[in-house]
């Protein structure tokens, strides 16, 4: 009798065993993936920091590194010349995530990009991550350093591109910060994060691509391009019939110039001395449609530009009355541009009217050096006619030779430029921005090798000293020199 009961109890125990086995299979195999993917599951993060992160390279030299902390999130990001390259690398923080290149190419750097796998599914089988790959940038370290040292901590930014390719040669924002202070897990990281975020100078703001400024007189390059392309101006030296001061159409407001000699000035003179009256009238003469068309061809109003991280949208308003159009045409009103956008304007002019989409990453590689993906040839767009571009180069070269941009002249090279002093704030009460956009061609080069845009916002300088030619042009010159000098 008891034997039967023992057997029944044994069956009960067997049922318990079966329940355990079935449930184990349920959580370990059936539901495994959904548990693995739960954002609260730290395993993915631990695996991510479980190996050294790949490096970001400038001319084949790493500007980043990894430090073994033996903590749970084991490898911490380090930076060589952190503040110099911060606008390019961004940070890779174990607390605050990643930004800029660290973010845009995180898959390659952390090793999670499936293209890093030597064979398809290899890493799924071995349950391991491939070593982090490297990101090779287009930067020119000498140009980058020249720009950084030129700004010398003053608020501002520099963007330099190679006109024939779109490769970004320098991308600097000041004041900067060392991204290494945000790398680790410690309480120091939170303190630094709070300090950087509460700093009124906003050191983590990437002014070269994420801040738009009123471009001021540098926008006259775009207005001149529109006027030449639309046929409003046929002869650079013919009088333009512009009054000075110029009454904004439909208003009683009079627009004046800083200097004399702008009345009825031909385009060459007006460009050289940056006559607001001439260009305001030119913009109105060209008309809204063609002004918008040319500005957008240069890259204004383009949403979602990536280099590979996102660039703030530069704007040229598309619904304007004539008075607003006049102001917009001299880079005021709602016209705003990133320094990179103004470098693109200069590059398109330098490159025969063809604009190459700018990019910052030459190629990504496996840790061993084999290429994962390369930039390839970028899209190209004819912005203005080649003849227009040739005449614009003439105008810009005159500015550096005889006009407001003499500070940018380089012996042994042809340099073209345009200064700008943009007003902003309510009633133009804010400190103006000093702008300089330029390009340079060495005498032995066939085509210009560098286009630069510099903006300096300097509240310490006296108001009248803030001019593009005085503050920004020397910085542009040293960047261009760094590129032209082998």
């Amino acid at each position: 009798m008891m034997t039967r009961h023992i057997r029944q109890a044994a069956v009960f125990c067997a049922l318990l065993l079966v329940a355990l086995l079935v449930n184990a299979a349920r959580i370990q195999v059936v539901r495994s993936e959904s548990y693995d993917d739960n954002p609260a599951n730290r395993r993915a993060v631990i695996a991510r920091y479980g190996q050294p992160r790949g490096d970001i390279l400038v001319e084949d030299v790493p500007v980043t590194g990894s430090r073994d902390t033996r903590e749970q999130l084991r490898y911490e990001r380090t930076y060589l010349n952190g503040p110099l390259y911060a606008p390019v690398t961004g940070f890779a923080s174990q607390v605050y995530g990643t930004t800029f290149l660290e973010h845009a190419h995180d898959g390659v750097l952390s090793g999670t990009d499936p293209r890093l796998s030597p064979l398809p599914l290899w890493n799924d089988v071995t349950r391991s991550l491939p070593a982090g790959g490297n990101v090779v940038t287009t930067l020119n370290p000498r140009a980058q350093r020249a720009a950084y040292e030129g700004l010398a901590g003053r608020k501002g930014a520099v963007a330099a591109v190679e006109p024939s390719t779109g490769r970004i040669l320098a991308l600097v924002s000041a004041p900067s910060y060392d991204p290494a202070v945000l790398s680790g897990n410690g309480p120091g990281v939170e303190r630094e994060w709070a300090r950087l975020n509460s700093d009124p100078d906003r050191p983590m703001l990437n002014r070269a691509v994420r801040q738009t400024y009123p471009p001021g007189s540098t926008f006259k390059v775009v207005t001149a391009a529109a006027a030449l392309d639309a046929g409003v101006i046929r002869d650079l030296d013919a009088p333009t019939g512009s009054p000075a001061p110029y009454r904004l159409p439909g208003t009683t407001t009079l627009l004046t110039n800083g200097g004399e000699g702008c009345e009825d000035a031909p385009l060459r003179e007006a460009f050289m001395w940056s006559c607001n009256t001439v260009f305001a009238k030119l913009g109105v003469d060209v008309g809204l449609t063609d002004m918008v068309g040319t500005a957008e061809a240069f890259g204004f109003n383009a949403a979602d530009v990536r280099i590979p991280f996102a660039v703030a949208q530069s704007t040229f308003d598309t619904s304007l009355d004539r008075a607003q159009l006049a102001l917009s045409s001299i880079g005021q009103y709602n016209t705003r541009a990133t320094p990179l956008q103004m470098a693109m304007v200069s590059a398109a002019v330098a490159n025969g009217g063809q604009l190459r989409t700018p990019y910052l990453v030459e190629r990504t590689t496996r840790s061993g050096g084999a290429t994962v993906a390369s930039a390839g040839s970028r899209t190209v767009r004819q912005v203005v006619r080649p003849s227009t571009a040739r005449r614009l180069r003439e105008l810009m070269a005159d500015v550096v030779r005889e006009g407001t941009g003499k500070n940018a002249a380089i012996p042994g090279a042809t340099v073209g430029g345009k200064t700008g002093t943009a007003q902003h704030g309510i009633g133009n009460a804010g400190t103006p921005y000093a702008w300089f956009v330029s390009w340079a061609r060495g005498d032995r080069d066939l085509e210009p090798r560098v286009a630069v845009a510099v903006v300096v916002e300097d509240s310490a300088a006296k108001r009248r000293d803030i001019t593009g030619g005085g503050l920004a042009a020397p910085i542009a010159r040293s960047v261009m020199e760094a590129v032209l000098t082998p």
Partner: protein, 455 residues
């Protein structure tokens, strides 16, 4: 019906063998023990290789220590219980060895808390107790005489921790000279002995006497009273101590043994009904238990609430991370579970690093262990021995189910030690005592057939 253990060597034609001798199978036991020790040393080396790229320096010493312990136990069995089941001891050695490997592996994550050396000391004590029990207890029926001593001792042990401060919300530990002892672990063996003795003595009365009410045959109060009283008392003490895992275990043990002794399915049904009602009531009223039930129903609720994953969620993540074949020893992150990762949640480390394959192997080892206990019970003739064997094996079955089901989200989580695997001295010592008792019982079970033809 009693055919278990009746493997008889057929007499050969040329060698007249008037008496059929049972094979003792001590050689099988020895080979399996060697295998168990080698497997444990292999696991120990795997941890070292995965973590530091080299065999850990203590590997030889660890293997030698475990080997000597296992060999001592084996020699004792060979000398004093030569007919014993040959699987019980190797499985015990293997589980204890794997437990030491897992604890050593987790020690690497918690440099401030080294539990493996202590566990090795407790394992040594456990084997010493095993040797003592097998050597000193010549016949398990002796225990029947001490039924009331056992129950008295069990109650004292259960009551003792109330006098000591609570640890992590449960009053189940007493601390003496730096060692934490969990008396409830020992109490469950003593209670099993008492239940077996009492039910064996009174099973006829229980099964057949008494009045019939509706469809149920009630036993006389004189017979059932003491059992129910003792059971209520022990459960009451446990509820006061808030150790619900052990409470559940005692209740399950009581129901299983009562059913085996009397075959009264009605009582079992009533027992389960009462247990369900009690569980619902406690789950509603007791905040500690209520939160466990809520966690079981919604393991990720704390994540949704922005408080991060709780221990059960971390445990599930751990098992899931193991997948089919596991990450390999030393390469998982079960330490994220945090508190009690070496004790209640030790199975998660096995699940993550050995995968479903390793976890299933562990469950099957436990299944085999329980099966050997039941088999010994079936082979015996005396009711006390049968009930004791079934009771002791059921302790393992229920305990494994309660804690393994808890950490894998099958049932609400209740703190309990995984037999042999989990950190905890009392538990290891108790489990070695259970192995010793089953060795003794299985020896008696098979010895009775020696020299006779199987029935």
């Amino acid at each position: 019906m009693m055919h278990a253990g009746a493997e008889v060597i057929a007499p050969t034609a040329d060698a007249p063998a008037p008496v059929a001798r049972l094979p003792r199978r001590r050689g099988v036991e020895l080979s399996l023990i060697v295998l168990a020790v080698l497997l444990s040393v292999f696991g120990y080396c795997a941890v070292g290789l995965a973590r530091n790229g080299g065999v850990p320096p203590g590997a030889a010493g660890y293997g030698a220590g475990l080997g000597v312990l296992a060999l001592l136990a084996h020699l004792t069995v060979r000398l004093r219980a030569p007919y014993a089941d040959p699987l019980l001891l190797p499985i015990g050695v293997l589980l204890n060895g794997i437990g030491l490997v897992l604890i050593y592996r987790l020690d690497l994550e918690t440099p401030g808390d080294q539990a493996a050396p202590t566990q090795l000391v407790w394992s040594t004590l456990g084997v010493a107790l095993f040797v003592f029990v097998v050597a000193a207890l010549r016949d398990h029926r002796v225990l029947q005489r001490y039924a009331y001593v056992c129950v008295a001792a069990a109650l004292v042990l259960l009551t003792l921790p109330i006098l000591f401060p609570a640890v992590n919300g449960a009053r189940i530990w007493i601390r003496i000279a730096g060692f934490s002892i969990q008396p409830g672990e020992f109490a469950k063996v003593l209670l099993a002995v008492f239940f077996a003795a009492y039910l064996a003595a009174n099973r006829t009365a229980l099964a057949h006497a008494g009045r019939r009410i509706w469809f149920m045959q009630l036993p006389t109060g004189r017979v059932l009273g003491p059992v129910v009283a003792i059971w209520l008392l022990s459960v009451g003490v446990l509820v006061l101590e808030r150790d619900l895992g052990t409470s559940l275990l005692f209740f399950g043990l009581f129901v299983v043994m009562l059913y085996v002794a009397t075959g009264r399915i009605g009582w079992t049904a009533v027992g389960l009904l009462l247990a369900s009602l009690g569980a619902v009531a406690v789950g509603r009223l007791e905040p500690h238990v209520h939160s466990r039930v809520e966690d079981w129903l919604h393991p990720f609720a704390s994540i949704a609430a922005g408080e991060g994953p709780n221990q059960l969620a971390q445990s599930l993540f751990s098992f899931a991370a193991g997948g089919t074949f596991g990450t390999g020893l030393g390469r998982g992150h079960s330490v994220l579970i945090g508190f009690a990762v070496k004790s209640d949640f030790i199975l998660a480390t096995a699940g993550e690093e050995l995968g479903l394959a390793g976890l299933s192997a562990l469950f099957l080892l436990y299944g085999l262990l329980v099966e050997r206990g039941y088999r010994a019970g079936l082979a015996l003739r005396d009711p006390f021995g049968r009930l004791l064997a079934v009771g002791l094996a059921s302790i393992w079955a229920l305990q494994v189910f309660v804690i393994a089901g808890g950490v894998t989200g099958l049932i609400p989580l209740t703190g309990m030690a995984m037999p042999f695997l989990a950190q905890g001295g009392s538990s290891v010592v108790t489990n070695w005592a259970i192995v010793a008792l089953l060795i003794r019982i299985s020896d008696s079970a098979r010895r009775q057939y020696d020299g006779k033809a199987a029935p």
